[in-house]
């Protein structure tokens, strides 16, 4: 990686990271975690719908229609639970470079992000009970940017998340610049 001496021309030193960089996928187990969470959520919703259908049934609505609605909802939910985590998983990727973290995510709105390590204020690794079962962790990156100050990488193996955290911490500690940006 060569160091351009001056900034004489703005186009001189693009750092080709965005479309070209190869990204690491998340841990595949995260799909199971997402599915479990979606299942729980959708069970609650489905029970609500079911309850409504049953009350309508006893108040004399045609049962075939109710059954159709309930089955339709059920199929949609199952499809969603099966497909969505896979799409989401496919969309996700991250890579820790020398000076920056590159992220890519989002099914509907696709986002590519470059987070300079220098700009990271602090990092958290967190884990909920489902992630704990799969030994996964979530890396939460806080920057001073206001628009989206928290960047979250879900579904990293816990050891990886902690390794990245420690490396970034080390990077910040080693930074010779004492600039206070804010």
């Amino acid at each position: 990686m060569d160091l351009p001496s001056t900034l004489s021309s703005p186009g001189v030193s693009p750092r080709a990271l965005l479309p070209s960089s190869s990204l690491t996928a998340l841990d595949p187990d995260i799909r199971s975690v997402w599915r479990i969470k979606l299942c729980l959520l959708h069970t609650v919703i489905f029970l609500g719908i079911l309850f409504y259908a049953v009350t309508r049934f006893f108040s004399g609505t045609d049962w075939t229609m109710l059954l159709g609605i309930v089955t339709g909802v059920l199929i949609c939910m199952v499809l969603y639970i099966l497909v969505w985590p896979r799409w989401r998983y496919d969309a996700w990727g991250y890579e820790l470079h020398e000076d920056e973290l590159v992220l890519e995510y989002g099914v509907i709105t696709h986002v590519r992000t470059v987070v300079p390590l220098r700009r990271i204020q602090h990092l958290d690794v967190s884990q909920d009970i489902f992630e704990r079962e799969f030994d996964l962790g979530r890396l939460i990156i806080h920057t001073a940017g206001t628009r989206s100050s928290d960047v979250v990488i879900p579904g990293l193996p816990l050891s990886t998340a902690e390794r990245i955290r420690d490396e970034v911490k080390q990077y910040i500690l080693n930074d010779p610049l004492t600039e206070d940006v804010l």
């Binding site: 080709a16 190869s22 890579e95 709105t109 920057t143 940017g145 989206s148 010779p176 004492t178």
Partner: protein
């Protein structure tokens, strides 16, 4: 956060004011004398109760080194715990009078009630509110040591807030109208990290206010001098009266002109909301009795409704225009901006004089704004976006409310030398279509329910429900979409990113390289079909709306732009690291931490594919 500031909880609920006799000064005070005590610690200090007593930071005072000793003659008065100015009592009492009036209003306006009820209420008020004010006054003290500012307050819950002196970003002196007559001022301390005012000392005499500010500044300079020995302390001593240069000021005609461009319905709303309290019938009767001509007017209004509507609109516009002038006059009268020790300072206001400070080092982004009318006559507003200061408007502070383009550029150059690019790039023309369709969608989403619920008895011009007529706005949407495209430009300059956007109100953001935070390129499903992307660079303290997105750039260009922007950032910091590490240990403040020969990062990770 401001609710915890001693000024904000000023009219402390009268019901609780008799309690302090039960819990006198023995209520333990949390001492938060740690040097790195953050604001949060300071804020919580009142809630915690620690056995440490009222022997506050003797340590820190004794630790204050000789650097500040020369100032003791000048600042001695501030170092002792200080009370507020006695006239504060009077002002605070006045401030509670509206509450009293509100309490008495129902009984006073009720003709049946006797004189005893208001007297009783007034007596209750006097028993509770007056001691509350006095106790609050007695319990409030502040002092400024070389290390920190200590403010003790609170009647029942004692609060002991210590703000480390180097954290103080800004000492703002404000004089409201009444305080000005009494020559009093309110001192507000602002720190980084809290969006609102950290502490407020109200009221002290104006002289004392200036003294506090001088003290804080002197201590800060002393602390700076200690931190970096490169600066000789003798320089600081000479700088007791720092030289300043006025950068920008507005004369009275200038302020009035600025007001003429600012249309505001604010005062109209105030007037009408006040009128609500007055019985409308008496008002109308009074009008009718006093002036027969009102009948003529009413008849004329019945005769020609169109003319009436027209007149009303013109009248409202005129009043809005006038109130805009008055509002601007009140706010920006005597606007002066000057530079002092690397800080922009400004003072303005007619009834309420505000003095503000913007440290240049804290400026993130510069924003030039203009409305169509202002642009037609060549006037612009310059604002800077800061982080952690008391935010007037979403983290933006006005540097020049109303100035010519050349002045704006000149001022911006004072804030940060800038190199405005000659040419700006356009975004993809496809954005016209997208912008138009999006707005159309919003319009339909509003109109469709309105049409659906429109009662048949209501207005149907030409047998079509009124909301449908809203579709007449569609061509305007088209024009807006084109203007959006026309004015949306961006340029990656040598020193930063420049973005222009806006349909009616125009913005120009100037983001320097060293303020970039995070880089984004996003594409939604619809954008992907058109091979477009939105790119933006996050900055600290950016406002939630009016954000410098670059919308609908060709996908490849967008990715390339992000790479270029990040490349700028990267090479800038590479060279900064190189200069910081190259001359070994000569100027480096902390040479022990950095091995000058080592590459200052050790990330044993797979390299990126690019190189």
């Amino acid at each position: 956060m401001s609710s915890t500031s001693p000024g904000a909880d000023l009219p402390s609920d009268p019901a609780s004011s008799d309690a302090p006799t039960d819990r006198p000064a023995s209520s333990p005070v949390a001492e938060d004398a740690s040097d790195n005590g953050t604001n949060v610690d300071a804020m919580n200090a009142g809630d915690r109760s620690a056995p440490a007593s009222d022997a506050p930071e003797d340590t820190s005072e004794s630790a204050s080194e000789g650097a500040s000793e020369g100032d003791n003659g000048l600042l001695g008065a501030v170092r002792e715990p200080q009370r507020l100015h006695p006239l504060t009592l009077f002002l605070r009492f006045l401030a509670t009078l509206p509450a009293l009036a509100l309490i008495l209003l129902p009984t006073l306006t009720n003709p049946d009630s006797t004189i005893w009820m208001p007297l009783f209420l007034g007596g209750v008020y006097a028993v509770f509110a007056v001691p509350a004010i006095i106790l609050q006054y007695l319990r409030f003290s502040y002092r400024i040591t070389p290390r920190q500012i200590v403010i003790q307050s609170g009647v029942i819950n004692r609060q002991n807030r210590s703000i480390p002196i180097e954290r103080v970003q800004n000492v703002e002196i404000e004089q409201r109208l009444l305080a000005r007559f009494l020559n009093l001022a309110q001192v507000r301390l602002e720190t980084a990290g809290s969006a609102s005012t950290e502490a407020s000392i109200e009221y002290v005499s104006l002289r004392q206010a200036h003294k506090i500010r001088t003290a804080v500044r002197t201590y800060q300079r002393a602390a700076d001098a200690q931190a970096s020995d490169s600066e000789s302390s003798s320089n600081d001593a000479e700088d007791a009266t720092p030289r300043s240069e006025t950068l920008f000021s507005m004369s009275l005609p200038h302020v009035l002109l600025a007001g003429a461009f600012r249309f505001s319905l604010f005062y109209l709303a105030v007037i009408f909301s006040v009128l609500q309290f007055v019985d409308p019938e008496t008002l109308t009767n009074w009008f009718l009795l006093s002036q027969d001509r009102i009948d003529v007017v009413v008849e004329a209004m019945y005769d020609s409704p169109v003319l009436t509507v027209l007149t009303t609109v013109i009248l409202a516009a005129l009043l809005g225009w006038l109130s805009g002038i008055l509002l601007t006059l009140n706010r920006y009268y005597g606007f002066t901006l000057w530079m002092e020790e690397g800080k922009l300072r400004k003072r303005h206001g007619l009834f309420t004089v505000t003095e503000g400070t913007i440290p240049l080092a804290k400026v993130q982004v510069m924003i030039v704004q203009t409305t169509p009318l202002m642009r037609a006559f060549g006037w612009y507003t310059l604002e800077v976006q800061t982080m952690g200061l008391n935010t007037d408007q979403q983290g933006q502070r006005v540097v020049a409310p109303f100035a010519r383009w050349s002045t704006v550029l000149d001022l911006a150059n004072h804030v940060r030398p800038l190199d405005l690019p000659e040419t700006f790039e356009r975004v993809s023309p496809l954005t016209i279509r997208r912008h138009f369709l999006r707005r159309l969608g919003v319009l339909l989403a509003v109109l469709a329910p309105a049409v659906y619920f429109w009662p048949s008895g209501w207005w149907h011009p030409y047998d079509i429900a009124l909301p449908w007529w809203g579709l007449l706005a569609v061509p305007a949407l088209g024009v807006a979409a084109y203007l959006h495209y026309h004015y949306h430009r961006y340029a990656i300059g040598q020193d930063g990113l420049y973005v222009r956007r806006g349909v009616l109100r125009h913005y120009l953001w100037m983001m320097p390289i060293n303020r970039y935070q995070v880089f984004y390129a996003t594409d939604s499903v619809l954008q992907r079909r058109l091979r477009l992307k939105t790119l933006f660079v996050d900055t600290a303290g950016a406002s939630a709306f009016a954000y410098p997105d670059i919308i609908d750039v060709d996908a490849q260009t967008a990715d390339g732009a992000v790479d270029t922007l990040h490349g700028q950032f990267h090479s800038l910091y590479r060279s900064m690291v190189a200069t910081a590490t190259a001359p070994p240990a000569s100027t480096d403040a902390r040479p022990s931490l950095v091995d000058p020969n080592a590459v200052p990062r050790a990330l044993p990770l797979p390299r990126d594919s690019s190189s």
